[in-house]
Amino acid sequence: MTEPIKLTIDGVEVEAKPGQTVLQAAIDNNVYIPYLCYWPGMKPYGACRMCCVEVEGGRGTPASCTLPVANGMVVNTLGTEIRGLRESVLELLLSEHPHGCLTCHRIELCGPQDICLRHVRVMDRCVVCPKNERCELKDTVRYVNVNMESPLAYNYRNLQVETGDPFYDRDYNLCIVCARCVRVCEEMRGDDAIAMIERSGTVLVGTSQGISLLESGCEFCGACIDVCPVGALVERDHKWDKAVTTVKTTCTHCSVGCQVNLEVDRRGRVIRSIGDWESPVNTGQLCYMGKFGNEFVNSRNRLKTPMLRQHGELVEATWEQALEAIASRLPDYKDGAFSLFLTPRATNQQAYLAGKFARQVMGSNNVDLSVDHRLELVEPLGRRLGAAAATGTVAELESAGCVLVVNANVTEEHNVAAIPIKKAHKAGGKLIVIDTREVELSRYADLWLRPYPGSESALVGGMLRVILDEGLQDDTFITECSGGIDALRESLAGYGIDAVADATGVGADKIASAARAFAQAGSAGIVYALDNVAQDERAPVTDALVNLALATGNVGKPSSGLFPLRPGAASQGALDMGCSAGDDGLSAAQSLEAIAQGGVKAAMVLGDSALFTSEAVHALTHTDFFVVQAMFPSELTEAADVLLPMTSFAEEDGVVTSLDRWALRRRAAIDPVGESRPADSVLTQLARRLGAADFGGHPSEVLQGIREAVPAYAAATDDALDAGGVQIAWSMPERAELTPLPPMQARNGDAPFLFAPGRVLSLPVGEVEVVRSNGKNAIRREDALELHPDDASAMGVAPGDVIEVAANGHRIRGLARTTGPLRGVVSATVLFGELAIALDQSADDDPMLRVPGLHVMPVQVAKA
């Protein structure tokens, strides 16, 4: 334990941690030093010179953000010289920043209804700055008390406001060049999508040769907006709106569990989503979904009243009538004839009550989240490592010596989980990506292994074989905590490196390098989603990964372990709450089949999801009785017998569990829209009508029930949740055996062509062209389809020929490139910007519910 450092700031003796700067020490001790470029968690930069201080016995006026604390240091932040200096610094900043908002004599007089009279120039008006009254520069000018009586002249840069890209507006006329945006993009996100361009007098934030963010590598996470101290960077939606309250809740778009502060305006609309910087889960970071995907809450199309089907038509009804109608029909379908589908955005309370409702009230085990939540990714962990959940903390991966990412599109589907992975790589850790598709992380990877789809288990087996053959396994760990190494070794007999290379299409040297990098990393984590692995193959691949982790001793120590990335924000919570079909019930997909075949006659769908395609809705119309609770009208709600309006996550209280098992609060930020109610309230009301008197209740009562029924959640007390969340403890079981691998399957040579789509943040400039139409940037791209040279010559295709890939009526044409590494696989990589444009301009009420993933599929390939 290092001794704290004692120093004096403005006459008060304070303690600081070694290595801190004077500014950090001041902030920790509630001494305010104005600053504009510092941001907690980012490296000191010293650009704005606002935080200058005097040190007794020292020379000059150093910036406190770059000045390390020292014992006995006497710091003065309020001297006359300092004040004068700060005033001059601010005057210099204001010499390039419109500041009518500070000098207009009507500042105190204007009311919200007033139209701006011509007291200041158009570009100066406070109403033309989107950050009016939430501007750090303005606050600082007022604190420093700069003499603004005689309006200062300023140089207006007269730059066009950049509005062509999705989601953001960028007005660099307001930029004060603090570089926070550039630094957050580099240091926190690892993207470097923007940089400081040019020098001294003309330096400004920009991109390479002024290219659009669509092609500069931007992932549209909005981190730059959140740190911008002025009105230069803002969200386009609700750009001019002002918040009256802020509520901290948990994002609902994936299972990472990001903490987000929702800003609400006086009309009760959620106008902005800002990542919570104190959260241990996401440290202020969000993604394109969490930052820009919450507008659905405010949609005018929200369902507001219950509806009942009468004479074939859905007509408005009261809750009383709707609940009564459901309660009168449901008892006819007890036992296996009833299925319950719960939204993948459910809270733990909703999941707990759904499981209980189906089993206790309806006597049916057919209850599941309405998403393929890939139980197979955690089932082996439950069986072998004591808990069906990740064995570590995602954020800790930033200190890992190696991260192995197996068939997971982390940047798009669990975005914030990619941040520690990128940080680990930046800090010198090895990144190994196993994926047939080209995904963002494969660009960062030290080793990108592109196996033939379906051969992932062979590849992991091959890595294990190399580790055991070369004696790289962790013998101490295996002796103390594990065993079964002989059986494992025996089962790997057929996994000779050449056979594996043959089966997977990955070069033997690459497999060996990956195995060595993983085994010798010191601490290594495995992140896997198995997006393109067939359902019955997922458990075997996961088992192989567990073996890989156990054999190298990478379970149960910091910055290591297994991290299953499952779809659905509720996937971990629902599993913990028992909201899954189990062995006796039907999963969501099985239920849909059973409904189509007539085995299940009544269904209740709580929340729309990507599962409900036209085919699924068609199947559901075969039921005798079909209840839907949803936020928006859709094909699904049209088919319902009873339709209930559902609250959004912003109107619900509850607890959700992240993929690394943080139990986190969901808090209502706004009142329920219309008469909408949360799913837990519906389940409670129905159960009570059906005779279960003490069923359910308020989320806090249900949480009490959860603590009693689910021992792991005993620690999830209200106090702990209020304090920022509680991580459900996982501990290494006393012994976790290595298990033998099944015999390796050789590659099936007659398989059809597979199409492997890819999507990345930036492509070579020659391949994409950004064109402007109607004020919006659009991407024009020459499609390129990559295939193996042998396949190309077998088909008589030369580089540059036009070929066509077809499946299920969809066709893609593109120019052939004969550089593909895998026979039988054709691949194409597009720009993430295209997805961002599609989501930004989507007419869907809730576009983030159906973000198209990257699915490998069988196709026909022909010369066009």
């Binding site: 470097d192 040769q209 400039v765």
Partner: protein, 164 residues
Amino acid sequence: MADDALRARIVRAVTEQPQPTVTVLSSLLAIEDELGWIPQEAIEEVASRQSVTQNDVWAVASFYPNFRFSPPGTHMVEVCWGPTCHLMGAQRLLERVHDALGLDGEGDTADGAVTLRYNTCLGACGQAPVVSADHHLLGRASAEAVDALVAGLRAAGRNGGHQR
């Protein structure tokens, strides 16, 4: 293909740097030396070889006024306007060159034949005022000599020149 030839020259310039530490800046300098300017292909090549984004390369390249982002003219005229040359009448020569080339300041002639640059010292103060054409010095330059020099370069048009 011309693109491939350009890229090959860029790759050669970047990979054949003699010093042990290769950076974004050293790579850009090597390319500027080879081509006389930094094309987009060079930004891409340096970015991928140094494992940084193109934005990072552009941040370095745009910082230094020494880098050009469009091809220079076939011939290069540099007029020294250092203190000695200034005292010896460089300003008059500059005006003369401006007139002869139809330029207002540094830049390229419309036909791309000549690029004019100001230089703070060509290292021949004893010969002031000094003008250089394609790196050949002209000392004790008179207005007439400058006229003749420029006329010669314009006559040569896009032939010859300083390009390596």
